[in-house]
């Protein structure tokens, strides 16, 4: 039972980070119909910038996070303007391929700048684990959980109440209608990418604090895809529920099945994904697309 609880708590914490990264996918997909395969690399950008600032320039952690967030914001804007702007209303294959190309380009660039060695954050969070009932959790995980939940709430409120959030939802719903209501779709797209990059950067910094930073951290982008799909690509609550579901299931699979089948942890989300897609092609909460000839 204790083993189970340990796995469960671990799963929930990882799930919170997944949910946050998945938010990045959902944000971009909702507003621009693009699925961003370079999400993982945006994660890396944030993590590397914050890490370099801390290690090379001795910047305090909080300031480095803020600077990394600002940089990611700019990177998001830049990517949208330079690359993605040309792909509005292009076929799906081009859009998939361009973000795959983007992920290659970004990963290569980061390898050139920071090489492929794993870098470790200086200790930011205390190493002493916290006892939750009978379960031990390290502080990094708790902080991650707290920050992720906070961000998730902020975004929920943002989409519900702020003008920009409402405009983003309107654009996602119907670009032409949004345009005719005086919403600048270009501005919305730029904002979407910037926000997604920021969310990823924060996710990257948290993950970097847990595992260290190296290019393979970028593959988390692929791990999180099942999360976004499971919940439905255009549903933010879906991303959150999907995040926790996949996090917990992955951890349970890892805990119980790994002794018999090493590595099953990484595959479990994808098996779940295939099963879900067989039953519900648009994910648990996604909006089915109705086609007419």
């Amino acid at each position: 039972m204790e083993f189970f609880l340990q796995l469960l708590v671990g799963g929930i914490v990882v799930g919170a980070i997944y949910a946050m990264v998945a938010m990045g996918f959902v944000l971009i997909y909702k507003a621009t119909d693009v699925i961003n395969f370079s999400q993982g690399e945006l994660l890396l950008v944030g993590a590397y910038i914050s890490l370099s600032l801390m290690v090379q320039f001795q910047v305090p952690f909080l300031l480095s996070v803020i600077l990394a967030v600002i940089c990611s914001f700019l990177v998001g804007l830049l990517l949208e303007r330079l690359v993605l702007r040309s792909f509005i209303n292009e076929p799906v294959i081009s859009v998939i391929m361009v973000t795959l190309g983007l992920s290659s380009a970004l990963r290569g660039l980061m390898q050139v700048i920071w090489s492929t060695d794993t870098r470790v954050f200086p200790t930011v969070f205390s190493q002493a684990p916290v006892k939750l009932g009978t379960v031990l959790v390290s502080q990094v995980y708790l902080w991650s959980l707290g920050i992720s939940l906070l961000l998730l709430v902020i975004f929920a409120l943002f989409f519900r109440y702020s003008l920009l959030g409402v405009a983003m939802r309107a654009t996602a719903d119907d670009q032409q209608a949004a345009l005719s209501m005086g919403i600048s779709v270009k501005l919305i797209f730029a904002a979407t990418w910037a926000i997604a990059a920021v969310v990823s950067a924060i996710g990257g910094i948290l993950l970097g604090n847990i595992n260290g930073v190296n290019p393979s951290l970028g593959y988390i982008g692929l791990t999180v895809l099942p999360v976004a799909i499971l919940g439905g690509l255009d549903s933010i609550p879906g991303a959150i529920i999907g995040g926790f579901t996949i996090g917990v299931l992955e951890n349970l699979a890892g805990g119980y099945l790994d002794p018999f089948l090493p590595g099953v942890k990484q595959v479990a989300p994808f098996v779940i994904l295939v099963l879900v897609l067989m039953v519900k092609p648009y994910g648990l909460f996604g909006k089915p697309i109705i086609e007419r000839v």
Binding site: I96, G101, R107, Q111, V112, L225, L273, P281
Partner: protein
């Protein structure tokens, strides 16, 4: 007379008078000459080239077969697959298992590898009936991850991460154990598959694929069984990829799961995008381009190593970066790929120098 002709003009000499002739391969005399000349030159290549060039040609040949397969699925039928790397692995391991562990002949293993891959491909193609676009891409991504995992863990068959050592094929008592001998096998297979692909799109099946790509609902309305034809597309495409995998396995003679990762899938997608979606010749151009890109970059890095310090350190990153940027630039400036660029060049010179 021939002296004065513009080599880019090939249309003259087409006198089809009925549909049957129109559907046939219509080569104008000069185009036919060119195709034959190119094929003869390709067969003569090992005589004039060093081993390194021949080995590059082998890699290109295998890539051509794989890219043709992916283009049938993605370019002609419009079903996106991010699982080609894994399917290549299925073909390679099937052939490897049959020859290395079961002791069967390569000539049996090759088609069986294709068939097994076709089967696996169609299983993962089943979701394509309900899934479209992005969601289908993700489902094939799942296929990639699951198959990769299986290749690593099914040690009884694949030897896992240790890799599987595969014997060389033997033809008429001659072991095809070096680049030059193997080249003829790859070249012949690649030519056969290219001809088959050209022919495929003159048949009902091929036309149905194109109809599905253009508008699947409309295709269904005019009587195309969507499920059947999508399965067929997955099966045919995977067959190509499986054969490419089998050739790959017996060429390298040692295969391990890390040869079949998602980055291979992305490379194959890049081949069909850069070459030209829905173009047979485009698949070939793309395969050549993507296979040779890292080679050319390595040469450039070697040449500039005196001027730029640490180029060896960053060359991997640079290669990845240039690969990504190339894809992006092609998609932005010439989404129809090299095939279109070549067509543009031909059209430009057709009336050159009096274009107007």
């Amino acid at each position: 007379m021939l002296k004065l002709r513009n080599p880019f003009v090939m249309e003259s000499g087409v006198y089809t008078t009925n549909y049957r002739e129109d559907m046939a391969f219509h080569f104008t005399p000069i185009a036919k000459l060119r195709v034959i000349a190119i094929i003869i030159l390709l067969y003569l290549l090992p005589m004039g080239a060093n081993n390194y060039l021949v080995s590059l040609a082998n890699l290109v040949g295998i890539a051509v077969i794989g890219a043709l397969g992916l283009n049938i699925l993605t370019g002609f039928t419009g079903q996106i697959s991010i699982g080609q790397g894994a399917f290549l692995g299925v073909g390679a391991y099937t052939a490897g298992f049959l020859t290395a562990k079961m002791g069967l002949s390569f000539w049996i293993a090759l088609p069986v590898a294709g068939l097994v891959t076709a089967l696996v491909g169609s299983v993962f193609g089943v979701p394509s009936l309900r899934l479209k676009g992005l969601y289908l891409a993700i489902a094939t991504l799942a296929a990639q991850v699951i198959i990769e995992f299986t290749l690593i863990r099914w040690e009884h068959v694949t030897n896992g991460v240790h890799g599987l050592v595969v014997p060389s094929p033997v033809l008429f008592g001659i072991s095809l154990n070096n680049d030059r001998r193997y080249y003829y096998l790859i070249l012949t297979t690649a030519i056969l598959f290219t001809i088959f692909t050209f022919n495929l799109f003159r048949t009902r099946t091929g036309r149905a694929f194109v109809a599905i790509r253009d508008r699947d609902l409309a295709a269904e309305v005019i009587g195309i069984n969507l499920f059947l034809y999508k399965m067929k597309a997955f099966a045919i495409s995977s067959f190509y990829v499986g054969v490419a995998g089998a050739l790959w396995a017996h060429y390298l003679r040692i295969i391990s799961p890390e040869q079949f990762t998602i980055s291979i899938s992305i490379q194959y997608l890049a081949m069909v995008i850069i070459g030209g979606l829905g173009s047979v010749m485009g698949s070939i151009y793309g395969a050549v381009f993507i296979t040779l890109l890292p080679v050319v970059l390595r040469e450039i890095a070697g040449a500039t190593s005196g001027w730029i310090p640490n180029i060896e350190m960053i060359i991997n990153g640079l290669r990845e970066m240039i690969f990504g940027i190339t894809i992006i630039l092609f998609l932005i400036f010439e989404p129809d790929g090299l095939a279109k660029i070549w067509r543009n060049i031909k059209n430009y010179f057709k009336l050159w120098p009096f274009s107007y």
